[in-house]
Symmetry: C2
Subunit: 234 residues, 2 copies
DNA sequence: TCCGGGTGTTGATTCAGATCAATTCCAAGA
DNA sequence: TCTTGGAATTGATCTGAATCAACACCCGGA
């Protein structure tokens, strides 16, 4: 399996899709994939970048830890997405750590290869720029949210985001699976896990959604989406 | 004044410094500068990008407003720094708004020019990538801080950041001037202005710093820096 | 089968910061 | 000079979320 990027299921999604000709071969050639178990660290804050990573399957979390040991889960990286390119391209140590949240397979493209191809293909650099721009926009949203929205609203919005990726069968009912543990969800929206529990119970009681393990059943997605639009759903 | 980028006081700082040969001339030729008064908007969220801006003098604030009208000041743009390049390069509408906080002069390089030069100079794109990467790192720090640190600590860290740019005369005493109003500082660290006042008064009472208008006098910068390192200064 | 430990839940209590409501301060304009 | 309106301060009160402390649940291993 995984013999080549060309037949990777996610080829379209990743930055590599802009590559042409010999560069595709270079990539395929230098690329190495290996499987990771949940909990394994891929790199730590402060490490030097050794290349660019690409999630083939599983789920990766980008984390940051402060001096007090407080850890925040900044974002998730899903299959088909790349990560770690920022430090590599700027030549600075990683400012965040990456860790496997759900076991899977992750490709690694060595630094030298990325640099060589980037020097030859401005389109690749541009693709990474776009990726970074999108991440930046999300980071800005996150700052806004943590400052202005209650933890309840933040959680509802996260549900909506997860739901967007899930299968919303024609009607308004949506069934989805939480990709990570509740602790991690709490960390993702910046609250304590106890608070997370209470928020979930409240939502459950109101009948907005039904939680069983990692399964979530949303009877009326529209109602939930409305609620997630800030406190005043004018 | 301001006849050319070549003799701009901030030439070294901005992304343009990587340009060579004819591209420098193209830039200089197309560039237009004009002065803005405090409070003027440069662009709004949702606007299409018309070019890249460069602060010559004064101060610019990057803001984001949510559905409820809550506004957060995300970051400041100082003389010598560029902004607005993100939307231009990705071809997406601005996700934030830019507004003049302190009157001054701002240069504008039209979209067509930037695109033409960028197509010819991969180094320019790379320079913008670096800028974005730095902003992203700061955004990540901001998320961390708003989630983990008290508003007191967040304010102290902001003071330290301002102090870093100021003149710390040989000793530990630092004298600096706040670049923006207290309301804006409150918005910058994500608290209400009332809270801001109280925090400032508390710091004043402890003798950590002395505030008079926008002037701040820090008798012992080291002590202040220590305090800013989270709640537990082990 | 009985552990053990990680994950999640629940309750009681506390506290940081928001909110509501007056003032006071101050700079620009008439 | 007086006026005026935004910026800043101050006080009283409320509340959302953290904290502290048990306890229930579930799953893999001996």
């Amino acid at each position: 399996m995984d013999k080549s990027c060309s037949n990777c299921a996610h080829r379209q999604a990743a930055e590599w899709s802009v590559l042409e000709g010999a560069n595709v071969a270079h990539m395929d050639d230098a690329r190495r994939s290996r499987s990771f178990l949940a909990g394994e660290a891929i790199y730590h804050e402060g490490d030097e970048a050794t290349g660019v990573y690409c999630v083939s399957s599983g789920l990766v979390g980008i984390r940051k830890v402060d001096a007090d040991g407080e850890s925040v889960l900044l974002r998730l990286v899903r299959p088909g997405q790349t990560f770690g390119y920022r430090s590599l391209l700027t030549g600075t140590p990683h400012g965040v750590s990456a860790e496997v949240l759900k076991e899977g397979r992750i490709c690694h493209v060595p630094a030298a290869t990325v640099h060589r191809i980037a020097a030859d293909s401005p389109a690749l650099v541009m693709a990474f720029f776009r990726h970074l721009a999108r991440d930046m926009a999300e980071a800005e949203n996150k700052v806004m949210e943590t400052v202005t929205a209650s933890c309840r609203v933040r959680f509802l919005r996260l549900l909506v985001a997860f739901g967007g990726e899930a299968d919303s069968d024609e009607g308004t009912r949506v069934r989805l699976e939480l990709p990570v543990s509740r602790q991690d969800i709490a960390s993702l929206i910046g609250v304590r896990s106890e608070t997370m529990s209470r928020v979930i119970r409240a939502i459950e009681n109101e009948g907005l959604a039904h939680f069983k393990g990692r399964h979530v059943d949303i009877p009326d997605a529209r109602r939930l989406a409305d609620e997630s639009f800030g406190s005043l759903a004018a």
